[in-house]
Structure formats: C-alpha cells, structure tokens
Symmetry: C2
Subunit: 108 residues, 2 copies
C-alpha cells in the first residue's frame, strides 16, 4: 500500500484537476463526453443539453481542458471534445488509495 502524504507540489497539481470537477455543469459536461460512444462530442450537442449560453459552455470546456481532463480539435466547422483517460485515472486512484488506506486503518 502506497499512501504517503502528498507533497505540496503534487497536491497543487491534483487539486487543479479536482477544482475543475467541482462544478455541476462541468461534471455533467465531462459525463456527457465520456458517455458518448465514439468518444467524441461536438460542442453544439453539449450546448443543447443545457439552458446556458454558448459562451458559458465554452468557458467551462476551457476550464476542463486547462485542467488536462479533456482535449479538443476543430474539424471543419465543428469542434470536437474528448476525454483524457489517464488524467481521470490519476485522480480516481488518489481517492481510491486514500479510501482503502482509511478503511484498513493503516498505511506504511
């Protein structure tokens, strides 16, 4: 079991990811992208799923992208977004390991 306390730098990097996930709209955006077979979703589809304006959705997508959680590419008129699995997995693992350590009540 490897659950050392986080260094300040490690915590800063991981916190940036969690912070981006800390908004219901962004969490739903991520979920919509992840749940799409094919792995890619056009912005127009995402915008339609909310009662928010285009710029607001665009802003949230930018936050998710800058946190390394998603990436995008323009193809012709449309812009497509997809998940960055490794980043999600890294965040998931931290919580999983912490939960496990707490459950067994021990670590190193």
């Amino acid at each position: 079991m490897v659950t050392e306390a986080l260094t300040e730098d490690a915590a800063a990097g991981l916190a940036r990811g969690f912070k981006a996930l800390g908004d219901p709209v962004r969490l739903r955006l991520l979920s919509l992208i992840a749940a799409r077979a094919g792995g890619e979703v056009c912005v127009c589809e995402l915008t339609d799923a909310f009662t928010l304006t285009g710029p607001t959705i665009s802003h949230h997508l930018k936050v998710l992208r800058e946190a390394g959680l998603i990436d995008c590419q323009r193809r012709g008129t449309w812009v497509y977004y997809w998940i960055v699995p490794a980043r999600l997995a890294a965040l998931s693992q931290l919580l999983d390991v912490s939960a496990a350590a707490a459950s067994t009540g021990s670590t190193r």
Copy 2:
C-alpha cells in the same frame, strides 16, 4: 458498463465533493488524515504541518466535513478527524468509470 450521463441532481452532489477537494491545502489535509495509521488525526498535528493559522485550518476542515469527506469527534481537549471511505470511493468510481468508458470508446 454503466456510464449514463449524470442527472442534474447527481452532478450537484458529486460536484460538492470534488469542489472540496479542489484546494491544495484541503487535499493535503485529507492525505495526511488518510495516511495516518489508526485512521484518526488530532487537529494540532494537522495545524503543525502548514504555515497557515489555526482558524484557516479549521475552516478547511469544516469544508471537508460539510462535503461528507471527513468526520470528527471531540475527546477531552483534542478533536480528532477521520476519513469517510464510502464518500471517497463514490467519487473515485465516477472518474474510474468515465475513464474506462472513454478508453474503450463506448458505453451502453
């Protein structure tokens, strides 16, 4: 594989958890608590690990507690905090499932 898009309510509840994790200080606090054999940590130990004032640490602990990530109890002079594993596991699972769905490029 179960990766439906999140409902608005589900997203709100989960986002509250991630939001609490979205601060480097809180992430380190959680990590310090989780990494402690015995599962419980006194506030005084946590305060010593940072260059922040007591009230600031107390504030962050409150945020984590209100997000359901930790819980606490006073025993005599000292207050002890511990992890709520189920809550961490729930957050971890969402990311894990989303990452997996994105990796296979499919869901349901």
